[in-house]
């Protein structure tokens, strides 16, 4: 197991810092690694990279469609591009370019979407993209990764250098507790962060820490929740989901995303398609996600609370899922 003793309060770094550190190492090891940015290098932690590797960096200006198009072209030229901006615009604005120029040709381009989700805070709904997992996981060939902490983002960045197809790496703006040591990161392989037999919480990104805290609360009520970090949304780890369903028949999903089309939907697709086949018992799912509405400006924590992306919401969802399961 890769869980380290998490400190939930004293936060010093987040996934974007892990990406910034990882891309530096990757570029040093591999001269084919290039990073592209659209006037947000500080925000996506590429400023030091831009300074240290000027010949492996491309600044395209405020032009996210061009960003992905040029990345595709660099890949045609044999390079390994990482194209970064805010997720609201990358893939939010350049989805067609991603779909056709990158995914259709199965080019080894990674698009890096920073500042995803409500934790953007003050910038408000226009910048708080909550639809990007849905947008990306429907694209053929595209791998979708949402790291939960800096070490995992670092590991994912290095893993993506060796990955042969296109990928989307989703990052948050906020710092997160250090939950993993980054070792044992494997694309497509879910991570059990905490064992438990009464139910399973599947979480991704900033919600993983909250899932672990929810599991602590549930334990006080004598409920043993397994917590699984689904850092890879696509290809999804079918085995892990099937195993969880067969273990307890009670699943909670938690994501910083719209309730439609994200992690919860992906898990539900696996469950419904395997019920009566690989899954041998009735299984219920409760989803913790944003309930089909836009976010708003405010301090990140306050916004998360208002839109019910909290530890308490996960606990409540777990209790409800257990009640529902008992009805079957």
């Amino acid at each position: 197991m890769t869980l380290i003793q998490p400190n939930f309060t004293n936060l010093t770094q987040g996934p974007r810092d892990g990406f910034g550190a990882g891309i530096m190492v990757a570029a040093k090891q591999n001269p084919r690694v290039v990073a592209l940015c659209s006037d947000l290098d500080e925000s996506v932690r590429l400023a030091t990279f831009a300074h240290n590797f000027p010949n492996q960096f491309v600044e395209v200006g405020v032009a996210e469609q061009n960003l992905v198009g040029v990345a595709a072209g660099l890949a045609l030229g044999g390079l390994k591009p990482f194209a970064a901006s805010y997720a609201a615009f990358n893939p939010g604005r350049n989805w067609d370019q991603l779909r056709v120029s990158v995914c259709y040709s199965n080019l080894p381009v990674t698009i890096v979407g920073g500042h995803a989700g409500l934790t953007v805070g003050g910038d408000g709904a226009s910048h708080q993209i909550l639809e990007d997992i849905a947008l990306t996981r429907v694209l053929p060939n595209l791998t979708v990764i949402v790291p939960c902490d800096a070490a995992q983002a670092y590991a994912a960045t290095l893993a993506l250098v060796d990955h042969s197809g296109p990928a989307y790496l989703r990052l948050s703006r906020v710092d997160t507790p250090d939950l993993t040591d980054g070792l044992n990161f494997k694309i497509g392989q879910a991570q059990i962060l905490r064992p438990g037999t009464d139910l399973t919480i599947f979480a991704t990104g900033v919600m993983v820490a909250k899932a672990l805290q929810a599991a602590q609360t549930l334990q006080i009520h004598n409920l043993q929740a397994q917590v699984i970090n689904l850092h890879t949304i696509k290809p999804i780890d079918v085995t892990a989901i099937v195993r969880a369903a067969n273990q307890s028949g009670v699943i909670v999903t938690a994501e910083e995303h719209q309730i439609y089309g994200g992690l919860g939907s992906a898990v539900a697709e696996v469950v419904t398609q395997n019920l009566g086949h690989q899954i041998t018992q009735p299984t219920v799912i409760e989803m913790v996600a944003v309930n089909d509405c836009f976010g708003e400006s405010g301090p990140a924590d306050a916004v998360m609370e208002k839109y019910h992306l909290t530890t308490e919401a996960i606990v409540a969802a777990a209790e409800k899922a257990l009640r529902r399961r008992a009805q079957l």
Binding site: D39, E42, S43, V60, G61, V62, G124, S126
Partner: protein
């Protein structure tokens, strides 16, 4: 004897300068209080916003949906502190709203949002009086404004549509798609106002990704360009008067501005695009602006 030291402004101009300085103070307070937001662009635009809303625009702050109004759309939504402060100063909504900029449940979002009508009873889902479009993601505003102008033109309505744009968002292809359309459809009722401050987030525009020369490019897209000093409020008002009186081709106002204008240590520094001033920096900025206000010797109750 003539006093050579003190510049002599017309009463109109003194009033405009007074209002712009007050708006700059409000901008500093909003961003400092919220501990987030964008100062440089907003400060640089204060003279233009004041000149527009206090003398050039056809509008009724107490009747924001007046059918004969000129429309103001904003494409560079991150500069909204200047829009909110100007609208409040003009009387569109109470000034106390400004202190809740970027706070939870506030109508004044970090980037402006527009709803055609009340969505539900919560304060945040009420339309913000005077805000006519949603923006934030750069490059979308001129298309919205062009569509609005086209609808007015087809309905043979005389309303004019102003649209504020930043120079940075001229790096977005969509901005040029909108210019092309407006040129093709001959939208002389659409007036883009370009904030040419030559900064963006990571540096000076001409070093990051040059958009220059804007006048040549715009002319090639079917536009005439009126280049002005973006801090000369009377020149700006004159440009608007003449454009409204009738132009041969769609005409854009290219305003040469100084980002961070009014606060000496912020002027022309791209680093201040989105930096939050410390307590001391905010205090120094307010002190500087207060001195400027006092030097105007303007009595707001004089008229």
């Amino acid at each position: 004897m003539e006093n050579l030291a003190a510049p002599q402004f017309s009463p109109d101009l003194v009033r405009l300068k007074y209002l712009a300085t007050k708006i700059r103070m409000a901008i500093i307070k909003m961003v400092h209080q919220a501990q987030s937001g964008h100062l440089a662009g907003a400060l640089g635009l204060a003279d233009l916003y004041t000149a527009l809303y206090f003398g050039a625009l056809k509008h009724h702050p107490f009747d924001p949906n007046w059918s004969q109004r000129d429309y103001v759309l904003v494409s560079n939504g991150h500069t909204c502190p200047v829009w909110y402060a100007t609208l409040a100063e003009a009387g569109y909504f109470p000034k106390v709203w400004l202190s809740r900029f970027r706070q939870l449940d506030s109508p004044l979002q970090g980037h402006p949002h527009f709803f055609p009508k009340i969505q539900d009873e919560t304060e945040i889902n009420q339309p913000v009086p005077g805000v006519e479009n949603t923006s934030g993601p750069l490059g979308q505003g001129l298309s919205q404004a062009a569509g609005l102008a086209l609808s007015l033109k087809r309905a043979q309505k005389p309303n004019v549509v102003f649209c504020f744009l930043s120079d940075g968002e001229h790096q977005e292809g969509q901005t040029w798609e909108a210019y092309m359309l407006a040129g093709q459809y001959h939208l002389t009722n659409l007036v883009p106002i370009i904030d040419h401050n030559n900064i963006q987030i990571s540096g000076r525009i001409d070093q990051i990704m040059s958009v220059n020369p804007l006048p040549t490019k715009l002319r090639a897209f079917g536009w005439d360009v009126w280049q002005i000093n973006g801090h000369d409020q009377l020149e700006f008002q004159k440009a608007i008067r003449l454009i409204k009186a009738g132009v041969r081709r769609p005409t854009a106002i290219l305003a040469e501005t100084i980002s961070g204008r009014g606060v000496s240590f912020m002027e022309n520094k791209f680093e201040w695009h989105g930096k939050i001033p410390s307590q001391a920096e905010a205090a120094n900025a307010i002190t500087e602006l207060t001195t400027q206000l006092d030097n105007l010797n303007y009595d707001p109750h004089s008229t």
